[in-house]
């Protein structure tokens, strides 16, 4: 039963991240996702420090604000200070991550229950310790699952309602502006959702590896799909496959579960890329004959 909940929770993480990852990949802003996921660390530490019991929803939202601030800061450095775009990302996220680490091992040491290893790859095996039990004996599953579920509902609501906005943002931002649409709103809405995903997933997969869930399934789907909606579903599919295979592999080898999931996801990407290249070469040969 515990395995079941772990797989289910990790699959939700994968789905939530993949949906947003599709837009990040199409916007060529994958590294923005990477930056946000690293940079929410200080927000999470502060949230844990003040809420004590790890995860009050309000504190999670506060931590998600750190991600939004990161996006603002990167945009500001790139547009106003005119620091090269990639450097703006690198400067911002290393700074915020460093602050988070100083908080954990220096300023808040002893007051925050965060292990540095957990920052890297989360504590997915431990999520079952924090259960939701009703009527003293009806076990409803781990808390992390419900946190992910709520985040997932929020994301789906926004993506369904704002689908055209996000599509326009990803394909042709200038055209959206020319139509009189406030593209900044859609940009920061998306960055806010990315922050939300990284914050709620922190406990499960850590701050560093979440980028794997965001980008890899989406990029794999990009290789083989031709329309946006199928790409989103395919990305979710690849994410879930990686979760399943990774989980059993990790159990078999007795290694980090999250690490195995992302490693599988990455290997899957390279496999699909190679098969894809082979198929298109074959097609080309058929055409030439």
């Amino acid at each position: 039963m515990n395995d079941f909940w772990i797989i289910l929770t990790a699959s939700l993480v994968a789905i939530n991240a993949s949906v947003l990852g599709v837009f990040l990949v199409l916007r060529k802003m994958s590294m923005m996702g990477d930056a946000i996921s690293h940079a929410v660390l200080p927000g999470i530490v502060v949230a844990y420090y003040f809420s004590g019991d790890r995860t009050s929803p309000l504190m999670l939202l506060g931590a998600a604000l750190t991600g939004l601030i990161t996006a603002f800061l990167i945009d500001w450095l790139a547009k106003k200070v005119k620091i090269q775009g990639d450097a703006s990302i690198g400067i911002t996220y290393t700074l915020l991550f460093a602050v988070g680490m100083i908080m954990i091992s220096g300023w808040f040491k002893g007051n925050v229950d965060i292990d540095l290893d957990c920052v890297l790859y989360g504590d997915i095996a431990m999520i079952n310790l924090d259960k939701i039990i009703v009527d003293q004996n009806l076990y409803l599953g781990p808390r992390a699952f419900y946190v992910e579920l709520v985040a997932g509902l929020i994301i789906f609501l926004f993506v369904i309602l704002g689908f055209r906005g996000f599509k326009l943002l990803s394909f042709d931002e200038d055209y959206g502006l020319a139509l009189g649409i406030n593209m900044n709103f859609w940009h920061y809405l998306m960055m806010g959702l990315v922050s939300l995903v990284t914050v709620v997933s922190f406990e499960v997969v850590g701050a560093v590896l979440v980028i794997g869930f965001l980008i890899i399934p989406a990029a794999t789907a990009q290789l083989i799909t031709k329309r946006l909606i199928p790409m989103i579903f395919t990305a979710c599919g690849f994410g879930i496959i990686a979760v399943l295979v990774g989980f059993y592999l990790a159990n078999w080898m007795n290694v980090s579960i999250t690490g195995a999931m992302i490693a599988v996801s990455g290997i899957l990407f390279f496999k699909v890329m190679m098969i894809n290249a082979m198929v298109s070469r074959k097609k080309l040969r058929v055409k030439m004959h």
């Binding site: 199409l26 060529k28 005119k82 309602l161 704002g162 055209r164 906005g165 599509k167 326009l168 990803s170 394909f171 042709d172 200038d174 055209y175 959206g176 502006l177 020319a178 139509l179 009189g180 649409i181 406030n182 990009q222 799909t225 031709k226 329309r227 946006l228 199928p230 790409m231």
Partner: protein
């Protein structure tokens, strides 16, 4: 009717960073004509179009469309960006992209209705892409991609169309088919403003010209403007002093226009 002004650009100065890209440009354009904007590379043509569309903030001056501010008449003006400005690998079909022409401030959340669908189908048909309706946009030729963009603008049902280099990288057949679409629109009373860089074809395509090189060099009917003298002023490096002044402005962050110059 003939003398109605479609676009009025008043004392427009636009700068990127410190240097001016457009400088004190001032003109009014007639309605119902195919108008060319020509000038050498880096002369501010695209900047002009983007400023008219509100994508760039001018440092001074203003633009009026049909005598109103842009936001009042957004739905009357359609923009066709350069084909290379987007990534054509995007997972979307011809239909998906043309449907974007029906998006707007107010109807971004609601689903497209039957009227929208019909307009989109018509626009696709008009540019001759009905057979490619469901094809992914990366599998189109350059000319077909350009026509997708034009169909998207057509779907906006606007009065004024701004096209940025629609003939760049398309073959001659596509070029003439695009021109005939545009002429048809002109005959319906629409105004078409085209950025163009190929001097060879200027005489065939346009009735009215705007000649630009950071400053406005000339504007008016084709015959008056398309003269050797004007062209050599715009292209021949005759305005070397102008570019030197631009360099100085760049180096000193000089404000190009003061606020209190109204004498």
């Amino acid at each position: 009717m003939k003398d109605q002004i479609s676009i009025e650009v008043h004392n427009l100065t636009v700068s990127y960073g410190a240097g001016p890209v457009l400088w004190d440009v001032d003109f009014e354009l007639p309605t119902g004509k195919i108008i060319g904007v020509i000038g050498p590379n880096g002369s501010g043509k695209t900047t002009l179009l983007k400023t008219i569309m509100g994508l760039l903030e001018p440092s001074s001056g203003y633009v009026k469309i049909q005598n109103k501010s842009l936001n009042e008449v957004r739905d009357k003006i359609a923009y066709v960006p350069q084909r290379t400005s987007v990534d054509w690998d995007f997972p979307a079909s011809v239909y998906d992209v043309v449907m974007m022409g029906r998006y707007g401030k107010r109807n971004l959340i609601r689903r497209p209705n039957n009227a929208d669908v019909e307009i989109v189908e018509q626009s696709i048909q008009k540019v001759g892409l009905s057979d490619f309706r469901d094809r992914q946009i990366s599998q189109l030729s350059g000319g077909q991609q350009q026509r997708v963009f034009i169909a998207r603008a057509l779907a906006q049902k606007a009065d004024i169309y701004l096209l940025d280099e629609p003939f760049a990288g398309v073959d001659a057949a596509t070029e003439s088919s695009i021109i005939s679409i545009l002429e048809e629109m002109r005959n319906e009373g629409k105004t078409v403003l085209i950025i163009h860089h190929d001097l060879q074809t200027v005489l065939e395509h346009f009735e009215y010209l705007v000649l630009l090189n950071t400053r406005l060099i000339a504007k008016g009917n084709l015959q008056e403007v398309f003269t050797k003298e004007n062209l050599s002023n715009a292209y021949g490096g005759q305005l070397t002093l102008l570019s030197k002044v631009v360099e100085i402005i760049k180096a000193t962050d000089f404000p190009i226009r003061e606020k209190d110059v109204d004498l």
